[in-house]
């Protein structure tokens, strides 16, 4: 039998796009299938302009055949746990990179050795040094601007592709007092152009990274999808993968695709890569039950869909004593990294403290609500203007991304009783935050308060629940033991030699950094392994 493709990739987000680009460039016949539609940036910007509430998905039209979670009044995910799983994602060509923030941090070496160093969680099946060259490559591909600065972790082997972006005024205010706590405010490395790069312009300060960059100064996966297509890859949108087939020898033979009109096509390939994020990927595997694989494909361990993680977010807002003029530039520019590391990780999660540059748009009330509140209070004329200006110019937010341990109870399963418009099960999620994370959230609140008090801020308030970071991780985790993990360190299924995984679903632990750069590094590493496999 001759397969239609050498490589069939399910999912056109950053992981799928980078693998498609890498393998198509090496001469492989590559097909990418994406459940959702193509996105026209201009149409999306027009939709954003008309949006009454600017949630992350506001610019994008949700296709009924490729639903995704909504920030408000979600009907897609059935929430079963005591804590709601608040992170969302996009199903469309380019995936969630359309509305990612753009932060492109590396993990720390200790993030990969949580069990060895602190006696909790898991160790990753690879070391930081295994990732280093792939981090370098990922930064080059995505185009990362970063400061020429010291950093936690090993020294860099290569400079960032672009100079770092300038700090925001709020960052500089926090920086004035950070030293008292032993902290340093560092501009974050970000896949956002500080100067023209790779045919894309420099950041134009639109302050809309989430939900959309108007000029693609912020990297999104369509960059590499276009490059992959130029190298011969085929990208099919509106193609929902509904089943992975494997033969009795364990080799995956192909994927069944369902179109919006419910017609079906079966696609064969020598190698199949699941790069459909940590909700849709495991859902597909668990939907692929057969007599031979009764618990779904790649699931001899029973770990598929389990160990779902996020970086639960502690948001704290305050009013600065002086104007810091937020909402101009990226929504977060700088961060404090010192609490990502340390012996406290034996007892509670580490956390990364980002300094918001978005006023209270996330923590609330947003600017429109503030203006409405003042109008309702009877203000008008210069009094209203001065009140809105005084408040909005001083709004600050600290955003802690906390660490979460892998918990097998936290899981996603297909809900065969709740089907979408084309008959595909919607996801069902059980999610709970354990004491390890709850303690990290409490520690973050405490530290936020101290920092805000130190700068003389007032009206300090904590969001009373943990927000989702949009960092969906852990549901096809990698490991050395096939009894407890789904994939090898190369992303290859333990059960099926020609099935691979790409994305944050591979993460055994959440780590302390936004996951996208690590997703990209692992995807490039996996592409290297598949190149070797294709020659065999």
């Amino acid at each position: 039998m001759t397969e239609q493709s050498d490589v069939l990739i399910v999912g056109a987000g950053v992981a799928g796009a980078l693998i498609a680009y890498s393998l198509a460039g090496a001469g492989a016949r590559v097909t990418v299938v994406e459940a959702g539609p193509q996105v026209d940036r201009g149409v999306a910007l027009n939709r954003l302009e008309r949006a009454a509430i600017r949630v992350p998905e506001a610019p994008y039209e949700m296709a009924p055949y490729a639903e995704s979670p909504a920030t408000i009044k979600d009907t897609y995910i059935q929430q079963d746990g005591p804590d709601p799983f608040r992170s969302t994602y996009l199903r469309q060509v380019g995936g969630t990179t359309w509305h990612w923030l753009g932060t492109a941090l590396r993990l720390l070496p200790s993030d990969l050795e949580l069990r060895s160093r602190y006696g909790v969680g898991e160790d990753w099946p690879l070391r930081y040094s295994d990732l280093t060259p792939w981090y370098d490559a990922a930064e080059s591909e995505l185009g990362v601007s970063g400061p020429d600065d010291d950093f936690l972790g090993p020294p860099r082997q290569k400079p960032y592709p672009m100079p770092g972006l300038p700090a925001a005024l709020g960052d500089r205010l926090i920086e004035q007092i950070a030293g008292r706590f032993g902290f340093k405010v560092r501009v974050s490395p970000q896949a956002r152009n500080s100067q023209p790069f790779d045919g894309r312009p420099a950041c134009c300060a639109s302050s809309s990274c989430i939900p959309i960059c108007p000029v693609q100064a912020k990297y999104d996966a369509t960059v590499h999808l276009r490059k992959a297509e130029a190298a011969g890859a085929h990208v099919f949108s509106e193609s929902v993968a509904v089943r992975v087939d494997a033969d009795n020898d364990g080799r995956v033979t192909g994927i069944l695709i369902r179109k919006p009109d419910r017609s079906e096509t079966w696609l064969s390939a020598r190698h199949v890569i699941i790069a459909a994020n940590a909700i849709e990927g495991p859902k597909l595997l668990l939907m692929s039950r057969s007599e031979r694989f009764q618990d779904g494909v790649a699931n001899s361990s029973g770990a598929v869909g389990r160990y779902l993680m996020d970086h639960p977010v502690q948001l704290t807002k305050a009013l600065s004593p002086v104007p810091v003029w937020p909402r101009r530039g990226p929504q977060e520019v700088s961060a404090i990294h010192e609490l990502r590391e340390g012996d406290q990780r034996r007892h509670h999660g580490a956390f990364l403290m980002n300094i918001g540059n978005q006023g209270w748009e996330w923590a609330g009330p947003d600017l429109a609500s503030l203006a409405r509140e003042y109008v309702d209070a009877g203000l008008s004329g210069p009094e209203l203007l001065n009140a809105v200006r005084s408040h909005s110019s001083r709004e600050m937010t600290l955003v802690a991304l906390t660490e979460q341990l892998p918990d097998p109870s936290n899981r996603i399963t297909p809900d065969f009783d709740r089907l979408d418009a084309i008959g595909v099960p919607k996801p069902r999620v059980f999610f709970r935050l354990d004491d390890y994370t709850a303690s990290a959230l409490a520690a973050a609140r405490n530290m936020h308060e101290q920092l805000f008090h130190a700068v003389g801020a007032t009206e300090i308030g904590h969001l009373p629940y943990a927000e989702g970071a949009g960092h969906i991780m852990g549901t096809t985790r990698m490991g050395t033991d096939a009894r407890t993990s789904v994939a090898t360190a190369a992303g290859q299924s333990h059960d099926h030699p020609n099935l691979w995984f790409a994305g944050a679903s591979l993460f055994p632990t959440s780590g302390t950094a936004n996951p996208t750069l690590t997703i990209a590094a692992l995807a490039l590493r996996t592409a290297g392994a598949i190149k070797i496999a294709l020659k065999q």
């Binding site: 910007l45 954003l48 302009e49 008309r50 949006a51 009454a52 600017r54 972006l165 300038p166 700090a167 925001a168 005024l169 500080s194 420099a202 950041c203 134009c204 300060a205 639109s206 302050s207 809309s208 959309i212 108007p214 000029v215 104007p323 003029w325 909402r327 101009r328 530039g329 990226p330 520019v333 540059n357 006023g359 600017l367 429109a368 503030l370 203006a371 409405r372 109008v375 309702d376 009877g378 008008s380 004329g381 210069p382 209203l384 203007l385 809105v388 200006r389 909005s392 110019s393």
Partner: protein
């Protein structure tokens, strides 16, 4: 409103328009709210948003509104000069 703002009228000069005549009636409040937020909602009959011309962004030193290009990366490193 859009024409007014584009004609060069500043938020301050608009705010100064007959402030003594403002009585804070419900209709006046809704009009003022629409001016600031772009959202016009009276008795549930209308719900219109014109985000990029709303006054609140200009008052907040965010001009143009988020989603539109404002300048180079240095532009957020200092206080806005156009307010």
């Amino acid at each position: 409103m859009e024409l007014l703002l584009r004609s060069g009228v500043t938020p301050a000069s608009l705010s100064a328009l007959e402030p003594e005549a403002y009585r804070g009636t419900a209709v006046e409040k809704r009009l003022l709210e629409a001016w600031y937020t772009g959202l016009f909602n009276l008795d549930g009959l209308s719900d219109i948003r014109s985000f990029d011309t709303t006054l609140m962004w200009r008052v907040a030193g965010v001009d143009p509104s988020p989603g539109l290009c404002r300048g180079d990366p240095e532009s957020w490193a200092s206080a806005p000069s156009n307010i």
